[in-house]
């Protein structure tokens, strides 16, 4: 019995001590960070296909597909040090239909107390113009990106939101929002829309993601699917049931800039 009490006390002490971890001093020390993307619809969990939601225009709708690319992650410590995830391993496709795509583990993150995360929604122009052999995994048009690539206007679809709504003016009562376009400009050609967007999120409640060689942190993001429709421009499924390569896609991109929050961080 006494042993148990000691053990519990030890665990409690350990829990407390996590908030006062000694500062990282060894510049070669690294640890692991996990990113979790939790897809939401307003205040609720996103349930595909069956759950009815209402957008800011008051239109009832169900969502059958929600997927997006996030890339070019940077983590910033309280004293302003920036860790940039190596570019080759900094492209993530999250799809609500694929639960495994919610979690992404980053190894060899320098030890530190991170307070801010910056990333891009979409795939940057540099990568979009790179040789096909540099597009592997989530970026391979044959595998990871098979549902998120426009062959005819070559580039990735950054975010997809599809579903159905009785308000839709589409013949089948569907809506499809496919937002892509990285800016063009290849071979000194004309520029197209650039719907990549930068996001900066601060960990709430003065929280920190504490990375040490024996400490891992999990940053838990919320991505609100309805915010693709609701924001600076409230999109109506009646007025615009299908938006793809279209000027309106830039407005949806402005909306999805506000789609993410960091809900909380687990420090283990």
């Amino acid at each position: 019995m006494k042993n148990y009490i000691l053990l519990i006390a030890a665990v409690l002490l350990a829990s407390c001590s996590k908030d006062t971890t000694a500062p990282a001093t060894d510049p070669s020390e690294t640890g692991t960070m996990t990113l979790e993307f939790d897809n939401r619809a307003g205040s609720d969990d996103l349930i595909l296909g069956v759950q009815v939601y209402t957008n800011a225009q008051g239109e009832k709708l169900t969502i059958t597909k929600f997927a997006y690319y996030v890339s070019n992650f940077r983590f910033i410590t309280a004293n302003g040090n920036v860790y940039t995830v190596p570019q080759d391993s900094s492209y993530f496709l999250i799809s609500e239909a694929d639960k495994a795509s919610a979690f992404h583990t980053l190894k060899n993150v320098p030890a530190g107390d991170y307070v801010q995360v910056k990333f891009m929604i979409g795939v940057d122009s540099t990568r979009s113009l790179m040789d096909i052999s540099k597009r592997t995994g989530a970026l391979d048009p044959a595998t990871g990106a098979s549902d998120m690539y426009w062959g005819w206007n070559s580039g990735y679809i950054f975010a997809k939101l599809e579903g159905s709504s009785p308000s839709s003016t589409d013949r089948q009562k569907l809506f499809r929002y496919h937002v892509g376009l990285f800016g063009g400009g290849f071979n000194n050609g004309v520029k197209t829309l650039n719907n990549t967007r930068e996001v900066t999120l601060t960990i709430p409640n003065n929280g920190k993601a504490i990375i040490r060689k024996d400490r891992r942190a999990q940053v838990h993001f919320f991505a609100d699917a309805l915010k693709m429709l609701n924001g600076t421009t409230n999109i109506s499924v009646a007025a615009n049931p299908n938006v793809m390569v279209d000027a309106l896609s830039a407005k949806i991109a402005d909306n999805y800039t506000q789609m993410f929050i960091i809900d909380h961080v687990h420090n283990e």
Partner: protein, 356 residues
């Protein structure tokens, strides 16, 4: 036998060789499979530096051989009936002669005329609207287009991965049997990059190895005065996008470059096509509306549909006399490259079934 295919070398010849060797060892030298014809990309004299990044994908004999098998293989389409070569036929400078728009799977029709595959190493964009910037990414479009091959790239890769013949071809081309999209697309690029046309009568005329008739000479003069600013030699295109006054259809008008850039100035603009082998590539314009060069000449004789983006060159009385038209047509015929359309390196592998 000037040209042979890998499966002949890979299976039949060694077997025959072994049989032969068993019978008569002294004949070994003569019965060894001949070294494959060395395939290498050569920039023709007078051509500019290619736009394609050959450092990322050097053309090799085995890469080209794989690319050719892929190019002629219906396995790239959903039901195995459509290959690249269905709409890009060598005898027509790799276009689809007689079809105004591409004729794809289940007899579905596309909306645009299949362009010639030639001199793509110098092409800075692909398709009539220039939506693709890299030759390596080009084949994804017809493979996935529902009215062309209607297949997912991933399914094609899986089909190839399950095929031992392809495993061997990829092994030879890339040093390991791994089959993935990057390798497949690069092999196709290697085949397409080799489709260089630079030995027409016009080319030989410039080199002083050929004479022109008076009509052809006058046609060349008219061409240089009226056409060459867009159809710039030696590629006979400046790779730009222009509205040449082809009237948009009343129903289902094709906006051209606009659908890519969403820029108002690009409305009804299409890529300036090369005129090499133009006499072999009828019909003409992005939707194949003109069946003959004569119709094309009549179009350029002040028959332009006016719209805000009509190219300025056509605004102030661009016309052709009947003599100009006749001579220009005679000149355009000198751009046909017999060597290119009969080059046995590019011809279908055995077993290829042409499709109408």
């Amino acid at each position: 036998m000037r040209h042979r295919y890998w499966w002949g070398q890979g299976i039949l010849l060694p077997v025959l060789t072994i049989l032969f060797i068993s019978c008569n060892k002294t004949e070994q030298q003569e019965t060894m499979p001949p070294v494959p014809e060395n395939i290498a990309f050569v920039k023709p004299a007078g051509f500019p530096e290619p736009a394609y990044r050959f450092t990322d994908n050097p053309v090799t004999t085995d890469g080209f051989a794989l690319g050719k098998v892929l190019f002629y293989d219906g396995a790239l389409s959903r039901d195995g009936t459509i290959s690249c070569a269905s709409c890009h036929i060598q005898a027509n400078a790799f276009t689809h002669h007689g079809h105004d728009v591409s004729h794809g799977i289940d007899d579905r029709l596309g909306v645009r005329n299949s362009p010639s595959i030639q001199n793509l190493a110098w092409s800075t964009t692909f398709f009539w609207d220039g939506g693709v910037h890299d030759l390596d990414l080009q084949p994804i479009v017809p493979i996935e287009n529902p009215v062309e091959m209607d297949e997912k790239l991933g399914n094609v890769i899986k089909r190839l991965q399950a095929n031992t013949r392809y495993q061997q071809l990829f092994q030879k081309a890339f040093g390991s049997p791994d089959i993935n999209s990057a390798r497949m697309l690069k092999a196709l690029s290697q085949f397409m990059l080799m489709l260089v046309s630079a030995n027409s009568r016009y080319d030989r005329y410039l080199q002083g190895r050929e004479t022109f008739t008076d009509s052809e000479k006058n046609g060349l003069a008219v061409f240089q005065q009226k056409c060459a600013s867009c159809h710039q030699p030696p590629l006979f295109t400046d790779n730009s996008f222009r509205n040449n006054g082809v009237a948009p259809r009343m129903y289902g008008a094709d906006s051209g470059r606009y659908v890519i850039t969403l820029a108002g100035e690009d409305m009804y603009r299409f890529k300036v096509p090369s005129l090499r082998n133009v006499a072999l590539t009828a019909p003409y314009m992005h939707d194949g509306r003109f069946g003959s060069l004569e119709s094309v000449m009549n179009h350029y004789d002040n028959n332009f549909f006016d719209s805000p983006t009509l190219d300025p060159v056509f605004r102030n009385g661009f016309a052709l006399t009947e003599t100009d038209k006749r001579d220009l047509t005679a000149f355009l015929r000198t751009l046909s490259d017999k060597e290119f359309i009969t080059d046995r390196r590019f011809e279908p592998p055995p077993g290829f079934i042409p499709r109408d």
